[in-house]
């Protein structure tokens, strides 16, 4: 998998670049320090995946989000994982409000856990999604305090399952985490999709869409 990585901080850039270079299945084709260089590198290399910091020059606000959306629009075969120091739900909304395919949002604390990072890059490169569990928790926690609709229709167990699967975990992994049988997880997932109106979705990202459908139902991403 060919990857371009962008981060303006030298320590993170060099450290993560070194970790990725040591990973057998990753070819780090270019490492850059700002969004303009990132877009140029993507245009040249057409990588399978991009890993990018969110806050970069010149404003250190949403440069990585903006670049991710441009890359997905102009180079749809390239998946993008953005990195954030904190759980910033507004940034997650901004990133995902037009669709979750090929997009991921991880906390920077994951960058030293190379397996998680590589899995996320693979997921987005294949058109899937990768959300940090803490980001999903943050999204759900914030919306559950505002909601009177969709999520309240879920049982406590269904909500737990939703939180797990929305982060990209498989049914088997969810079953292990929640000490349930895989069959029970399947049943809860089916109920969640049904209650959130995703029964007919064939999209491979339906699990993440379950979270976003909930957010939409409560006026989330598009009404900020």
């Amino acid at each position: 998998m060919r990857v371009v990585f962008a981060d303006d901080n030298f320590l993170v850039r060099e450290g993560v670049a070194g970790l990725l270079t040591e990973t057998t299945d990753i070819e780090l084709v270019e490492t850059v320090a700002d969004p303009d260089a990132l877009l140029a590198a993507v245009g040249v290399h057409r990588p399978d995946a991009v890993l990018t910091d969110i806050r970069m020059p010149p404003t250190f606000t949403t440069e990585g989000i903006d670049a991710a959306k441009r890359i997905r629009a102009e180079f749809p075969a390239t998946g993008v994982v953005v990195l954030s120091q904190y759980v910033e739900e507004d940034y997650a909304f901004e990133l995902l409000c037009d669709g979750v395919e090929g997009l991921g949002y991880l906390l920077k604390e994951r960058v030293t856990q190379v397996d998680d990072l590589v899995r996320a890059l693979y997921d987005v490169s294949r058109g899937g999604s990768a959300l940090d569990p803490k980001v999903v928790e943050g999204l759900l926690a914030r919306k559950s305090t505002e909601s009177t609709s969709a999520l309240l229709g879920l049982t406590e167990r269904e909500l737990e399952v939703l939180q797990e699967v929305a982060t990209g975990r498989s049914n088997a992994a969810t079953a292990t985490t929640l000490f349930m049988s895989e069959r029970a997880v399947e049943k809860h997932v089916g109920a969640v999709f049904q209650k959130l109106g995703l029964v007919h979705e064939s999209d491979v990202n339906r699990r993440v869409m379950a979270v976003l459908a909930y957010l939409d139902a409560t006026g989330g991403a598009r009404t900020r």
């Binding site: 320590l11 993170v12 993560v16 910091d53 920077k108 030293t112």
Partner: protein, 121 residues
């Protein structure tokens, strides 16, 4: 005035290498050693007597917080600055003796100089 002698501690070699490069770019500081674990940092600090230890928090074996506590309990303790990719509020740093905490995402020559100045005004 001689350069301040720095020991860098991180279990991931690419980050040790990058930390060394940051220190090399910082005027008045020189790396005298690098360690890949808390235990190794204790042994190297005894041998090298660094002025400053840049210590990753998450380490195999004893973590960076415990290693800091032990370093600071010595007779001639070095200044210790903790680093991590995690947020500071995820750790209990109280009483460990670290001079400061810097997120890796913002660590660079300026922050290193500022942190040293704050620790040794």
């Amino acid at each position: 005035m001689p350069d301040l002698r720095v020991l860098v501690v991180d279990d991931q070699e690419p980050f040790r290498r990058a930390m060394r490069a940051v220190v090399d770019e910082t005027e008045g500081f020189v790396v005298v050693g690098s360690a890949g674990s808390g235990e190794e940092s204790l042994a190297m600090a005894t041998e090298l007597l660094p002025d400053l230890v840049l210590m990753d928090v998450n380490l195999p074996g004893i973590d960076g917080i415990e290693a800091t506590r032990r370093l600071r309990a010595g007779a001639q303790p070095p200044v210790v600055i903790l680093l991590s990719t995690y947020d500071e509020d995820q750790f209990d740093l109280a009483g460990c003796g670290a001079a400061s905490y810097i997120a890796k995402a913002v660590f660079g020559p300026d922050r290193l100089s500022e942190a040293w100045a704050g620790a040794c005004p």
